[in-house]
Amino acid sequence: MSYWGSSSAGGTYSKAKNSLIPGYNPAGSSAANTSYVTYSTSNTTSTPNVSYPSASTYSKPTGKVTYYTQDWNQIKQAQYKATGRVTTGGRNRGRGGYNPSSAQTVHYCEICKITCGTAATYKAHIDGSKHLKKAAKAEQGVESDPKLPKSGFYKCVLCDITSTTGEAFQAHIKGSKHDKKVQLHKRLGKPIPDNITPANPEESTSKVEKVGEEFVETKYDSTTKRTIFFCSMCNCSFMDATAKEFHIQGRRHRLEYKKRYDKTLKVDMPASKRQKMAHSSGRGGRGGYRGGAKRADSGMEDSSYNEIWEAEQRQLESEWSQYREEERWYRYIEGIKRQEEEHRQWYIQERQRCERLGIAPPPPPPRPRPPPPPPARDNSRKLLNNHDTTLIHTKHSQLQPSKTEIAELEKLMKLTEDTLELISEELDQEYIQTPEYKEWKAKITATDYPDASEDKAEEDTDQAEDQAADKAVEGATDAGETDEMDVEETIVPPVIAEDDHLVIKSCIRIGDLPKHSIMKSKIEGVLAVFCVKKPTIDFFEKFYMKLKKKFAETENALDVVLASDISDVAIYVKRIEPVSVEVKIHLTSALFREEEVNDVVLAEERKNRVLDRKSCLSVLALLRQTKWFESRMSVSLIVVLQLLKDLSKRIPAWSPLSTWSLELIVERCARTKGYSSQPPQFSPPEVLRRVFELFASGFLLLNSPGLNDPCEKEPVDVLGYLSSQEREDLTASAQYALRLVVYNQLYKILGIAQPPALKNLGQIPRAAAPSSFKQRG
C-alpha cells in the first residue's frame, strides 16, 4: 500500500511544520492506525485524542487537499504530492464499493470538529493552515470567536456552530448535519454534551405571525425520493420541514410578502445588516450594484417605495446575469456543434482518402455527448417594474377608447360593410349588362386559365424575400369576402368563380381597428375597397352617390353624415351621436402595385381619369402594414405604441415619426430576449426603455443603418424622410427620456401627474422638471 510511503513523507513534513507550533505533538511518523494525533486542549469536551476505529466513516471531499498546497514552498509541495496520491487511492476505494464491515478508521479532529475519510486527508487537514490557526487559538485558551457577542447566542459544541437566534439553532439541531454528528459521536462512544439536546419545539415558537404560508407547496422529487417544499412566492425550495418553517418566519419571505400583498406588514431589519451597509461604502463596497444602491438609501427606513425600486433593480440585475449565463451556454453549444461538424467533415475526407489508398479507414468519430442542459430560467417576473407598469397602465387606460366607443364604431363599421356589400352586388348587376362584360366572358370561355393554386405557388417562390408582405396578402385572402381572390398579385386575369364580384372585389378593414391600437382622440375605422379595375374619378363619384342613397334607404338608418374627399380618395361616414365615430372608406385596386409603372400606363391613367395613384398605393401599403402588425401583435407592443403615439402628439421632437415607423421600431424593441425556447416577453416598461435606448444610441444619426420596410419589395428606409435636424432633436429628446425612465420619472414622459408614491420622496423639484422636458422637446 502506498499509504506507508506517504505516511513517512507526511511525517517528515509535519515535523518540519511542528517546529513552528509549540505544544504540537506529532504522531504522524510513528503512527499506525491508532493514535494519529495526540493533542490535548483545554476544551471541556475533549477526551484523549485518538483516531477512532469504527465501522462508519465519513468521506470529506478530498479535493480540498489542493487548497492547502497553495502557500507552501517547493519541498513541501513535493512531499505533498505523495499525500495527494494516497488521497486519490482512498477515494477510489470508497467509490469502488464501500464495505461497512471492513476495519475503516474515522479520523476525527477534535479541534475543528471535522471527520476525514482517510489518513491522508486527515494529515492534510492537520497540516493545513485552517487547522493550525484553530489549534493556535485553542492553545491560547481563546474560547470563542471575538466577533461573537458575549451573551445571547447559542452554540452547538458538537458541531462548533453558533447562531444568534433560537430558531436558527433549533433548525440546526433538527438538521441532518447535526444528526450525523450525533450518530458519529454515539458510535465513537463519546459523550454528547447536554446543551445540544434538542429543546422542546414548543418553546421555540416565534412570536411573529406566519404569513404567506399558502405559497409553500409540497412536492415530491422523483430522483432523490424526497419530499421537498417549494415556496412559489420566493422561488426557493427546502429539503425538510424545519427549513420550511424557518423560511416562512424568515425575513426574506416576509419581505417578499410585504412587497406583494401586505404593505403594512412589519419586517424588522437584522442588526448585522445595518452594520454591513455602513461598511460597504465607497469603492470598497464591492457588493456590486447592490452595494451602491444600499449606500444611496441608507438613512431611509420606511420608504417602501424605494425598497421596491431597489428590489426591482436587483431583479433586473439577476435577470441580466441569467441572460449572460444563457448566452454563454448557447455559445458553448454552438462551439460543440461546429466542432462536431468539422470533425465529421474531416472523417468523410479521411475515409475517402483511405479508400483511394486502399488502407483501413480510421474509426468513426465517437458519438457526440449530449450537450449540457440550458441553465434554468427563473420566470417569476411579477415584481419587475411594478410601479412603472402601474404608471403605464394608468396612462394607457387614458389613451384607450371606452368600450361603448368601440362598440359604436363596430356598429358603424358593420353597417358600412353591409351597405358596401349591397352596392357591390348592384354594381355587378349593372356590369353584366355592359357589352364589355360579354366580350370578356366570351374570351375566358375560349381560353383555358391555369389553375389558381399553381399561380399562387409560383408567387410564393418569387416573393420569398418579401415574406411579411406575402403573409399580409395571404391574410387578406382569408379576410376577404371572395374565395379565390388574392389582393395583391393574382388578379390579371382573375379566375372568376360564380359568386365573384365583378366590380368590387372586396372590402377589408385596415388601420388601427384591426391593430387594436385605436386612440381615444381619434376613433376611426378604415375600410379599403378593392376594385377589379383601377377606380376612376367617375367611378368614385358614382360610388359615393350610391353609398349615400343606400345609407338613406337602410331601414335601421343611423343618423350618419357622409362626406367625400377626392384628393384623398376617401369617403367619410361620420356619426356624432351618441359618441363621435368615423369610418373612412378608401377606394383602391391591387392593379396599382402589380403593373409596371411606365409612361404608357401613366398616360392611360390620365386619359381614364384614374384616381390619384399615390393615395391608392398608400392604402395598399397600409393594408400590408396592418397584416404585418397583426402577425406580430403583443400586449407590450400595443401599449408602448400607444404611449409613443401620444408622445408624438405632445412633444414636437417626436412628431415627425410616422405611425408606421413607430410600429417598426417598437416591434423591434419588443422582440424577446434570451435563447431558451420560450423566452419571456418584455414587459411594457422594458420595451419603452429599449425604444429610448435605441434612439439614444444615435440610431438615427450619422451612418444610420436606417429601418428597412418589411412590406416593400425594394429596400426602403422608413426613416429616410427625416431631416438631420429632426433626427438630432429626436435623439436629444429620447436621450433625455431614457434617463428619466431610468431615474424613475416616467410620469414626466407620459405627461401624467406625479404618482403619490413618488411624492413621498420629495427630492425632485417638481414644478421645474416636467415643464423643462416639454419646452425642450
Binding site: 456590486g288 450594484y289 451602491g292 433593480q313 432633436d729 436629444a732
Partner: protein, 296 residues
C-alpha cells in the same frame, strides 16, 4: 521614472516582511497620459500593514533613494503619506505606493486606529487584478488609445469627472472587442461605439452593463459610481455623441484651432445642422437623483 520603480523593486525594505511588489495602474497598463508622471505600485506585506509600517517604509525608501541621487538634488524629493500608502515625488514624477497585505489576512480583525482601512487594502489588491487582466485581455492598441481619450475626457469634461479608471478600462475593452464577430474595431469605430454605448445607458441603473471580470459573480462595471455620477456620464456622452455625428470630431477631441466644446449653449456644427438641444442636458442631471432622501 522607470528607474525609480526598479530601484524600489531591487531594494526591499528589511524591517517589513514584504511578500511581493507589483506595478499597477496606468503605468503598467501602458495607458499613461502625457504629463501625468505617476507610477503606481502595490506592496504586499505579510501581515496587516499598520500606519507605523508605512512610515517606516516611507522613510527607508527616501533614505535609499537619496543615497542614489547626487547630494544637491536630494532636497527635491518629497514623500507624503495617504490613506492607503504613500507617494514619493522626485523631479516632477511621482511614485505612488499602495501598501496592502495577503488576501487571507484581510479577514482578520482590523483596528481602525492602528491599521490601514480594509477598504483601501482591498482596493489595492483589486488594482493588481485589474492590471493583470488588462495586460492579458486589452493588448490591442485601439483599446489603449480609447482609454487615453476617455482619461483625457475625465480631465477636461466635467461630466466625465467622476468616472472610475477601472470602469474606463472595462468600457474601452467592451466597446472594442464585444461584438458578434469578435474582431477588434478600428479606433474611430471604437470611439463612436463607446459613446453610443454610454449614450444608450450602458452605465445606467438597471442596464445590462459590463460585468467585472475581476470580481466573483456578476458585479457591474459601474457599481462604484453613484446614481448622480452615472447620470452625468450618460448625459455628457449623449451630447458628445450628437456633436460627433454632426462632424464635431475636432471640438470633442479639443484639437488645436477647434472651438472649445461647451455644454451650456447650443452649438452649430457642419454649417447646416444646428444642435440646439445641448443646453437642456444640464438640467436632467439635477432632477435625476431620485435616491437622495434629504429633500423638502
Amino acid at each position: 521614472m522607470t528607474s525609480i520603480v526598479d530601484t524600489l523593486v531591487v531594494s526591499p525594505v528589511p524591517e517589513v516582511d514584504i511578500e511581493e511588489m507589483r506595478v499597477v495602474g496606468s503605468f503598467k497598463k501602458g495607458t499613461i497620459l502625457a504629463g501625468h508622471k505617476t507610477a503606481d505600485i502595490v506592496l504586499i506585506i505579510k501581515h496587516l500593514p499598520t500606519l507605523e509600517d508605512i512610515t517606516n517604509i516611507q522613510n527607508l525608501m527616501k533614505e535609499k533613494m537619496n543615497a542614489q541621487q547626487p547630494e544637491k538634488e536630494r532636497k527635491k524629493a518629497t514623500t507624503k503619506s495617504h490613506e492607503s500608502g504613500f507617494s514619493y515625488t522626485f523631479n516632477g514624477s511621482t511614485l505612488n505606493v499602495f501598501v496592502t497585505t495577503l488576501p487571507n489576512n484581510t479577514k482578520e480583525t482590523i483596528d481602525p486606529e492602528k491599521h490601514l482601512k480594509l477598504e483601501n487594502l482591498k482596493n489595492s489588491l483589486a488594482a493588481i487584478r485589474h492590471a493583470r487582466w488588462f495586460e492579458e485581455n486589452a493588448y490591442q492598441s485601439s483599446i489603449r488609445i480609447l482609454v487615453r481619450i476617455l482619461k483625457d475626457f475625465k480631465k477636461r469634461i466635467p461630466f466625465f469627472k467622476n468616472v472610475n479608471p477601472w470602469t474606463i478600462d472595462l468600457l474601452a475593452h467592451h466597446a472594442a472587442v464585444a461584438n458578434t464577430n469578435g474582431n477588434t474595431l478600428s479606433v474611430p469605430q471604437v470611439f463612436r461605439r463607446c459613446l453610443q454605448l454610454l449614450a444608450a445607458g450602458i452605465l445606467l441603473p438597471g442596464s445590462a452593463s459590463i460585468s467585472d471580470p475581476c470580481e466573483p459573480g456578476f458585479v457591474k462595471a459601474h457599481s462604484f459610481m453613484s446614481y448622480e455620477h452615472q447620470d452625468e456620464l450618460a448625459c455628457g456622452a449623449q451630447t458628445l455623441l450628437r456633436a460627433l455625428s454632426h462632424g464635431g470630431y475636432k471640438e470633442i477631441l479639443a484639437m488645436k484651432g477647434a472651438r472649445k466644446i461647451t455644454f451650456e449653449s447650443a452649438v452649430m456644427f457642419d454649417g447646416i445642422i444646428v444642435t440646439p438641444s445641448k443646453l437642456a442636458y444640464e438640467k436632467p442631471a439635477e432632477p435625476a437623483e431620485p435616491m437622495e432622501t434629504n429633500g423638502s
